[in-house]
Amino acid sequence: MSENVKTKKKAEAKLKYTKVKPGTNVAISALFIFLALICLMPALLVLVVSLSSENSIRIKGYSYVPTELSLEAFRYLLHQSSYIGRAFLNSIGITIVGTLFGLITTSTMGFALSRPNYRLRKFFTWFIFIPMLFSGGLVASYMINAHILGLKDTYWAMIIPICCSSFYCIIMRTFFQTTVPDAIIESAKIDGARMIRIFVQIVLPISLPAIATIGLFLTFAYWNDWLMAKYYISGNKHDLFPLQYVLISLEENISFLSRNSQNMTPGTANSIPSETVRMAMVVVSVVPIACSYPFFQKYFVSGLTIGAVKG
């Protein structure tokens, strides 16, 4: 009997120390729900506005509860698909090519730095580390990219300058060091394989988690990038605009759209639902991200954990 009480007490005591009190739990949960809502509500507002009718905006302003729902903004974007569609395709193209370039540059450098026998390993470790400490700054890079390398007003301006980073190289290196055993590479060498072949056929296939992680980092970075377009793409080169840059120059673009709407039925051009179209374009650029990131979250977390290992 007394033993029973004792174990019960022990269990209670254990519970007391391993878990917070129920009241505290409610408070913490409430705090997190509150924070989560703060992060989500603005996105929801933009979504609702994009689905409101222009009339509702005129009466109530932007609101979570519009007087009238309508798809006119999205219908309008669909009508303008030559312009918006072009921007969408630009964004996709830049993202794919950029991610590919980024993976090639970071994985090869990461591989080289992970080989303990590589004679230039020390040198190149410093070589990629120094730019983390010191950079030439915006003006020098701008002058070189725009005036010497001739990247101004080309797609390459939005791809190459941001494809590699020391941080990604270090993540790759750490991954190769910890998960690609030296024995595999040695035995492949004995079989007569060249280093390049070993890298492509053996190292890369067993490093898919790292490739996926860095690939995701790059994909999201390219999709969201607007700075390169702002620096290097002139305002009248509409063909080159990625989605994010279209959003920046939206005010002028809505007037641009109305001027270039010969292919629309007469009458509609004068009544562009500008307030809702604006938000509909934001929705178009956010939806691919918002729908995919919950599934890829864990790769981000693993990338962060590898990256946190200091060099």
Binding site: Y17, T18, F32, V49, G61, S63, R194, M195, W226, P294
Partner: protein
């Protein structure tokens, strides 16, 4: 087994498996990356000489020709002009003060949240909240600027339509994009809002790396939750915190261009609270074409930034020899 492989290696001779050949192949493999670094990281480092010249472009001539044949060396004149200008002090103050606040909050809030996160009973609820809090990290500042606009727009904005605040001076709705007092705090909020989910995950990852036996031992000794946090979690989080600290301090003269320029919709009325060094460099270079002053500002930012990161590393290493970044 290992003996055998050594023997085989020797038999094959130096030709195909010799180490100098391997070295060459590895070098060729990362040659593209090396070229990228030379063009996009190292070449701009030499480009800083623009800051010591009076750069004068001439139409039809290349940048390099103009730099070497048409631009005089002016020593520190660009810097003198910059430092003596009326906006230099504001710009420096804005950048550093915001960063100090960001560094403190950027450590305090995510660490607290990461510790609290593990205490929620319902794992499902916790995971859902975490996913939702991660969302802002994946959005660009351009998108965020529209989120903000939906709330703060003068005529249609949610806030003005909800509270119907009329400015007595103009008789119209309050113009939030001209309200410097509000933006001073709101910029801090936006920064925390966007970075919270991401930094929380960084600290949660290091908390999950802590050996569970430590907590069990503490439990046997009857340590309370608070004592466990104070004597186990926080001390073991110190390396992560110090790395995040060094990186943040090293960037103390840099600012998030997207936050200060894009999220504020580049509102002229807000310049006194939004003009950080980065915003100035951008505006001077691309809006006013003043290469001299913007290169001087960018040069100061790079050099001082480099010194601060080395300094912060030395400081952290003095306190805890294990904790440095390099």
């Amino acid at each position: 087994m290992s003996n055998l492989s050594v023997k085989q290696k020797k038999k094959k001779g130096k030709g195909s498996t010799g180490s100098s050949f391997d070295n060459l192949e590895i070098f060729l493999l990362h040659l593209p990356t090396t070229i990228w670094y030379l063009l996009f990281c190292y070449a701009p480092m030499f480009g800083v000489i623009i800051a010591f010249k009076n750069y004068k472009p001439r139409p039809g001539k290349s940048f390099l020709w103009a730099l070497f044949n048409n631009s005089k060396w002016v020593g520190l004149d660009n810097f003198k002009f910059l430092v003596n200008s009326s906006y230099f002090e504001t710009m420096l103050k804005t950048t550093v003060l915001y960063n100090i606040v960001f560094i403190i909050l950027g450590i305090l809030i995510p660490v607290t949240l990461a510790i609290l996160f593990n205490e929620i009973y319902s794992r499902k609820l916790a995971k859902t909240c975490q996913t939702m809090m991660f969302l802002p990290h994946f959005l660009s500042w351009v998108v965020v600027s529209y989120f903000v606009y939906a709330f703060l727009a003068t005529d249609q904005g949610l806030v003005n339509n909800l509270f119907k605040q009329i400015d007595p001076a103009t008789g119209r709705y309050h113009n939030w994009y001209a309200d410097t007092n509000f933006w001073m705090y709101f910029l801090v909020f936006l920064n925390v809002w966007k970075g919270m989910g991401y930094s929380m995950v960084v600290y949660m990852a290091s908390i999950s790396g802590i050996d569970g036996e430590l907590y069990e031992a503490a439990l046997i000794d009857g340590a309370t939750k608070w004592q466990q946090v104070k004597y186990i979690t926080l001390p073991l989080l110190r390396p992560t915190i110090s790395i995040m600290f060094i990186m943040a301090v090293g960037n103390i003269f840099r600012s998030d261009f997207g936050l200060f320029y894009q999220a504020t919709r580049n509102s002229g009325a807000l310049t006194s609270v939004t003009q950080t060094i980065d915003v100035y460099v951008y505006k001077a270079l691309l809006e006013q074409s003043n290469v001299n002053l913007s290169s001087a500002a960018a040069f100061l930012q790079s050099v001082v930034g480099c010194l601060t990161i080395i300094g912060a590393n030395v400081l952290v290493k003095k306190i805890d020899p294990e904790a440095g970044l390099f």
